[in-house]
Symmetry: C2
């Protein structure tokens, strides 16, 4: 059972289902992919609806899980509070019937009573919930729900209520003796300093764990960096914590794509876990590939902490890091002459235009790909199946003729019919083999490109500030020396942006080259297999 | 401009257009094929509508043609009746504006005045009109318009107002000394006597001719039999005349499929002529293949008349042939023992079931094929084109990056994009290369199968008559000897039906084997070409 969140009008003939906000539908197939699920309305009509238009009511599943938890819970404490717990379990059951928030409240009460660690409550649903607000990695942009841009924390320091790059442009003196981020002049222009060995990691082995005496369940992943080859355990909430830290620290200079949280769907829990893992892997790979991010203390902590104590200490330290927001630029040193503010502005505009154009291009490809996915998994295989059935049907009519010597024909026609049924299945399964990766890659890029407006916005604000320089000096808001410093620092910012763009470009070329090759390779295989199957079907007819 | 004949509700998403009876639409593309034309309604909406739902108003085209004819006509007779003709031409113009029948009447008047041969008036439109009531060889069975069954003339002789097989069952004595049609016992059962050399003919060289001083135009085809290799000229109306003769003569025993008259469409006159010729060729080939039909005087006359006089004499003779309707059975002699009436009935029922089942199977395949045709020429290539455009678009965005050394990627992506555009075109063109022949073959069979109920009906009526035998004898309506004769004659009818069914089966096996092979062959080529194109596109990416 699921509830419809927004009106959706079926584009008819495409196997879609028109639904109205508030309507209740039954999910008949959650595994069609491409951001669609198959649902049935109260009139029995079945069709595709965008996933993010539907909120799956999982309370029936949750209810049974809860009951099991409570039962376990009661058993353990039977001797002490059997009556109280029976009461709680009855109450819990009733609350389940009403809505999930009640359950959650009840659990909080129980937890407080039992005396659970406070910082462990707020996370558990991260690991289990899903399925409701998705959209194939953002492939669907209909509901206008998913805003994948970063929220850079510029307002962190109370003294600077007028948030902005002034914090860096006018800071008294760059802090000394800390991590330095160096920019070199490479063949393509300013580049980050790349490590000799590329950091990489594997996200694997998702394991379900429980805590709070079985009240809560979560998924724990192994993360294995290629540097130590030693797995560390992380739950989704740890990835989320890492994301927040990276965003705080680097977001002004480096686009930090969102975690694949609400974008993951799956028919079964395993499928959901697998998909989330695949996307966490993609996110981690991208972070590992970034020379600045991968080299940071917080990222290294995440990958290589030795034990629980090490992790907790590192966590606390990272959370207290004040070198965040625009102050990241204070760590950056460009080994090149200062840039003219006009050139800085030109570069910035160029990047802005490019990322906007690429964002449009990527979204266009996603839209087309999604349409194609729908056709390949919906009407097209149905049609091939019908062709196959029609051949087989005619063949069985022929068999009934009573005429001698047509077994070769009827066998061949049946075989041709079956071939078309096989082709139907191949067509339906193909998107998962090729289009999937093209879509995933473009979804990742859509997420990345969604971060650029914020990153570029910081630079534009800095440029504006420098332009105001003379006025600010005249108004005695800053000293002439401040103005010189600002120009110098905006040059550093520009080098950082250029280095980041060059990093982006080199990754983009690598990624698109790889994904296009994979796509075409699989497409070639697909068409070759079909041709081969049809050739075999053809060979069964007698040449006359 | 065209008028909508029946309501049609678009199956949405399939590029169809909803139209209402009586609505006027503009034909925007008559060449989409598969029984569809593209039309635009008064609100500017464009979509596909079944051809047979629309009546093309050709009067605008006809008007200009008529005017040209009249002008020519006037020029020639200027000296004699310049005033009268001007008047006629003005009248003609006015009539054109009102409706076509008026024109036709006017022409009749003119013709009478000029003294044209009477038997030449009634045919001219056969050659030019078309396009209006079609349906891809009957692929569309929606309006329920086209009844492709034969109209066997059982009521030809006034003495037998209770039409039926009695005419043959009870005729005094089989006429002697005329064409004999022999049935032998072959391996598969009763078979017609097949000629040693298979008759065949080529329909070719359509030429436009005019007559009535340029008033009328028509198409004349060369028909070249493989026996004489000498072409004879025939217009469509001659084929129609032949059809009528064959139907009269053989229709009770042999299904004579309708001529492909109203089933032909084409965007241009040439396309229409080509398509009609292709279907006349198909019809003639089928008739040539039939041992009884091809051996008949009337068919031989059609193929091998020596001159106009020969043709006219033969025509008159054929039209006076009284050996038509059920009397064809009086020419048939089966070299086998008489059949038991029970066996006759069983055979008849079996054929009835088979032809019904095959009719259903063929119609099903036609429906599926038509849907597939529509998808392959409509939404599918559009989608491939959009994929191609999306790749090319992204490639051109990449080119604008200003980053060095990505020419290989952008070139390869552009090339991949173009490949998908090529695939789009291939997909759209493919149905004419393979599905077309599968559809044509099944349309032919649909036409043939539509004749069987009538043929089988004659047999069933005869069987009923024989069953009534005792009652008729008791009521002194027939003599006991009549009853014996009737049983004997119904046995002959059954042998004829069996021979015909065996002929049908052997042709069916040949035809379906051939057409399935052709279809699969072309399909293999199609998928291989796509795989090859994609392989080339793939090879342009650099392996990393």
């Amino acid at each position: 059972m699921a509830q419809v969140l927004y009106d959706f009008t079926a584009e008819p003939g495409n196997n879609e289902l028109t639904v109205r906000e508030g309507e209740t539908v039954t999910i008949t197939n959650q595994g069609v992919g491409g951001g669609w699920i198959e649902a049935q309305n109260s009139r029995g009509e079945v069709g595709l609806v965008p996933e993010d238009y539907i909120e799956v009511r999982e309370w029936l599943g949750v209810l049974s899980m809860e009951l099991a938890s409570f039962t376990l819970y009661i058993k353990r404490f039977e001797t002490r509070w059997s009556i109280a717990c029976s009461l709680i379990s009855v109450l819990g059951f009733l609350c389940c019937m009403v809505s999930l928030p009640c359950i959650w409240l009840l659990r909080v009460c129980v937890c407080v009573w039992v005396g659970a660690e406070e910082d462990e409550w707020d996370d558990e649903w991260d690991d289990v919930k899903s399925n409701s607000e998705s959209g194939d990695g953002g492939a669907i942009q209909r509901g206008g729900a998913t805003g994948s841009s970063m929220k850079i924390s510029l307002n962190k320091f109370p003294g600077f209520s007028k948030s902005g790059p002034e914090l860096f442009l006018l800071c008294k003196q760059p802090p000394k003796g800390k991590e330095k981020i160096t920019i070199y002049m490479g063949e393509v222009g300013p580049v980050w300093s790349y490590p000799e060995a590329q950091l990489d990691c594997v996200v694997a082995d998702p394991k379900k764990g429980t805590k709070m005496y079985g009240l809560k369940s979560y998924i724990e992943y192994h993360v294995i960096p290629n540097t130590t080859n030693r797995p560390v355990n992380h739950r989704y909430k740890h990835f989320d914590w890492l994301y927040e830290r990276l965003l705080d620290k680097f977001g002004s200079a480096i686009p930090i794509p969102s975690l694949p949280d609400k974008q993951v769907t799956g028919r079964f829990e395993e499928e959901f876990i697998k998909m989330r893992m695949e996307r966490l892997q993609g996110w981690m790979t991208r972070m590992c590939r970034h020379p600045v991010v991968s080299n940071s203390d917080v990222f290294q902590l995440f990958l290589t902490y030795k034990d629980e104590k090490d992790w907790k200490t590192g966590k606390r330290k990272a959370e207290k890091d004040e070198d965040v927001g625009v102050m990241i630029f204070s760590s950056i040193e460009a080994e090149a002459p200062d840039l003219d503010p006009i050139e800085v502005e030109q570069k910035c505009d160029q990047f802005s235009r490019f990322t906007k154009a690429m964002d449009d291009g990527v979204k266009d490809l996603l839209t087309v790909g999604q349409e194609h996915w729908k056709r390949c998994t919906g009407p097209l295989p149905k049609e091939y199946q019908r062709i196959g059935k029609a051949f087989q049907n005619l063949s069985s009519v022929f068999t009934s003729s009573g005429y001698q010597g047509e077994a070769t024909l009827t066998d061949a026609m049946t075989s041709a019919g079956k071939t078309y049924e096989e082709i139907a299945q191949m067509v339906a399964e193909q998107p998962r083999k090729d289009l999937h990766f093209l879509m995933e890659n473009n979804n990742e890029y859509k997420g990345l490109l969604g971060c650029f407006p914020d990153t570029i916005g910081v630079h534009k604000a800095a440029i504006e500030k420098v332009k105001e320089g003379d006025r600010l000096v005249a108004a005695s808001k800053i000293t002439p020396q401040d103005k010189v410093t600002m120009a110098k620092r905006v040059s550093t910012m520009s080098y950082a942006l250029q280095a980041e763009m060059n990093h982006f470009h080199s990754n983009r070329i690598y990624d698109y080259n790889r994904v296009m090759q994979l796509y075409l390779e699989e497409q070639v295989k697909f068409y070759e297999t079909i041709a081969e199957k049809l050739k075999q079907a053809h060979s069964q007819f007698t040449t006359m």
